[in-house]
């Protein structure tokens, strides 16, 4: 528990603002290259992402100092990027290094450069106060590049406020209704859950004992235990880390073999890795991956899991887009909460405090 130093706020803003002083994933590592700059807007800031000759990822504002032409349409030349319009060049710090039509360089010619960290197969950027950009604050997603885990993922371009995605992941009872053909089952809504938190993390834990495995999990059990049939104990442990990373420890084990007590050897375990980057108030980059800690050698299983989760998340994407449309079509209607929203509401409170600390309102400005 944290001690309250300010009164709690009922934070049910529908278009939630986003903290600027935070690391957000801008891209998968392989998307940022020395060949062609990548244009992507992160937390409201349009960026040109590229790699210099050391292979280091660079994030510059995607607007030339001169007439604001997008640098992402320009050319990477070793350690510099050249504006596509009148040929000004910038180094990775955003400083102009060449003005082709004159003998000197205007000392004011600079484009903003943002701190970048590469970790867990992602390129993270910080668009807030650069003096606060501590690489140690990158959210923990270590399963992404650990030798004990294997898997892969994709990016969803979600046409909704990032908070709707966080809500979606913090409460998994929706699986019963949205994902009934793959991972949904009645026991999800019935099972008790527990919520704990500190000032950066929220954890929601749910165990379902002695149940039938839904199709997705039955297949995974049979990948590890060929021919398996019978009851399982199923878990979902949702780990949120501020501002927008959610790693969900999921799995099933043969019923009664001690998984709830810590022995998962008779089961299969995955981590659904999610990190949501606000693009604008109403659009998000949703990076996900499914990592597993069994049959690490099998590319077939990696591909099948990626495709399986792709299908499941496609169902979420449709729901989130429809929800955002309904929110926008009903501007006078409020959000109300159910008991299942406890995890999501703790997330809101943490974000609310981060926004307060930055002097930003909880509701994003209408755009």
């Amino acid at each position: 528990m944290t001690i309250l130093d300010s009164p709690p706020i009922t934070a049910a803003s529908k278009i939630f603002n986003f903290p600027r002083n935070a690391w957000y994933v801008a891209a998968w590592d392989h998307e940022v290259t020395a060949k062609q700059p990548l244009a992507r807007t992160i937390a409201g800031v349009p960026l040109a992402l590229w790699r210099n000759s050391d292979g280091r990822a660079v994030a510059l504002a995607d607007a030339c100092w001169h007439r604001l032409a997008p640098l992402s349409k320009g050319t990477v030349l070793g350690d510099e990027i050249q504006c596509p319009y009148h040929g000004l060049r910038y180094n990775s710090a955003g400083r102009c290094t060449s003005m082709p039509a004159q003998e000197t360089i205007n000392p004011s010619a600079i484009v903003p450069s943002y701190p970048v960290v590469e970790r867990y197969r992602y390129v993270w950027v910080w668009v807030g106060d650069p003096d606060l950009a501590d690489p140690a604050a990158v959210p923990d997603m270590h399963q992404m590049d650990s030798p004990d885990w294997a898997g892969d993922g994709e990016t969803i371009y979600a046409p909704c406020n990032y908070q709707l995605v966080l809500d979606n992941l913090m409460d998994l009872t929706h699986e019963e209704f949205v994902h009934s053909s793959s991972i949904g089952q009645d026991e999800l809504s019935e099972a008790e859950f527990e919520v704990s938190h500190d000032d950066r993390h929220v954890t929601v834990t749910r165990w379902m004992r002695d149940i039938d495995a839904p199709p997705f999990w039955l297949k995974n059990m049979r990948d590890k235990f060929p021919g398996f049939s019978g009851k399982v104990d199923r878990w979902q442990i949702i780990h949120f880390e501020a501002p927008s990373t959610i790693c969900i420890d999921v799995g099933v084990a043969k019923a009664g073999t001690g998984a709830p007590e810590g022995d998962r050897s008779q089961g299969v375990n995955g981590f659904v890795m999610n990190t949501i980057t606000p693009e604008t108030a109403r659009t998000s980059h949703y990076f996900w991956a499914f990592m597993r800690n069994y049959r690490l050698e099998s590319q077939t299983i990696t591909t099948q899991l990626r495709q399986g989760v792709h299908g499941v998340f496609g169902e979420d994407e449709d729901m989130l887009a429809a929800q955002q449309r309904a929110i926008d079509a009903n501007p006078d209607h409020e959000f109300y909460s159910l008991n299942i929203d406890a995890g999501g509401m703790w997330v809101r409170r943490i974000l609310d405090r981060m926004l307060q600390a930055e002097g930003l309102p909880a509701a994003a400005a209408a755009k």
Binding site: W65, E103, T104, N106, P107, S108, P112, P115, P130, G359
Partner: protein, 338 residues
Amino acid sequence: MAVNTQTWWQQGRVVETSDLAEGVRRVVLAPDRPVHAAPGTHVDLRLDLAGHVRKRSYSVVRSEDGGRRLTLGVQLAPSSRGGSRHMHGLAPGDVVEMTGPVQSFPLGVGADRYVLVAGGIGVTALVAMADALRRRGADYTLVLAGRRRAVMAYLGELVEVHGDRVRVFVDDEDVRLDVAELVGEIAGSPAAARTEMYMCGPIRLMDAIRRAWVSHELPEPNLRFETFGSSGAWAAEDFVVHLPQLDRSVRVGKDSSMLDALEDAGVDVMWDCRKGECGICQVKVLDVSGRIDHRDVFLSQQQKETYASLCLCVARAARGDSADADAAEPAAVTLHLP
């Protein structure tokens, strides 16, 4: 690194004034629409100087309380363009027209070492940078150079806060800044290529540093500087501009820039930055009587030496070192204004 080049005008109330050093006044402003001013930012003020509205730039020494208190340090310069005299006359309660913080001298992140070089009143641009570097725990050196201790603003405070990281050079104590030694030491250090220098001061000092920097083949983008075109090789004096195509001659007072004087005389000239950086106001020189004090950072050294053109916003004509102060004839330039 945030770069804000957007200018919008607002009112600022003077909330405090005091003396920082001989001839240096501290002015604290409370803007209408406060925005935190990052290290390296300046504000532009619109001043009514003898019936003419003039824009003057001042570095933000310190931004407190989310930009609700912005401290400026203003040197009363006899050769200034009149703005400093006005600023020294401000008292609490006075209201000025000002921009929000404008950033064209941002402090970078990630260098191995930072060297800040302040000449005279240039220290006002570097105080906030030094504070930021100290908070970051960065490796930095603060070089303070001045003519006399009594005129060096913030000297005592900076020495107290930054201790061993400060190096002080005072001309009249015969402890002079040796540019060759300073730059040579950087060039010889293992962090040479990853050292950034930020300088603000008289243009002669900055030119000398730039030449040393280039001759040591240090990376040019790592040398950062800011100038408001307000210092030159000679003190500002009155001079005359001849414009044969317009059949006019205009006198430029020592408190006025050539660009201001031409505009006041109704001559339509093009400009953008008004601080000697962009080169938009560049015109060809047809003739000079005396010397040209260029004061810009747009023309190359070679272009300056040939006297072929000048930047109207900052350049001046001067009688030069040998001038007899009482000589009746002012310096003059003849410009090509088609």
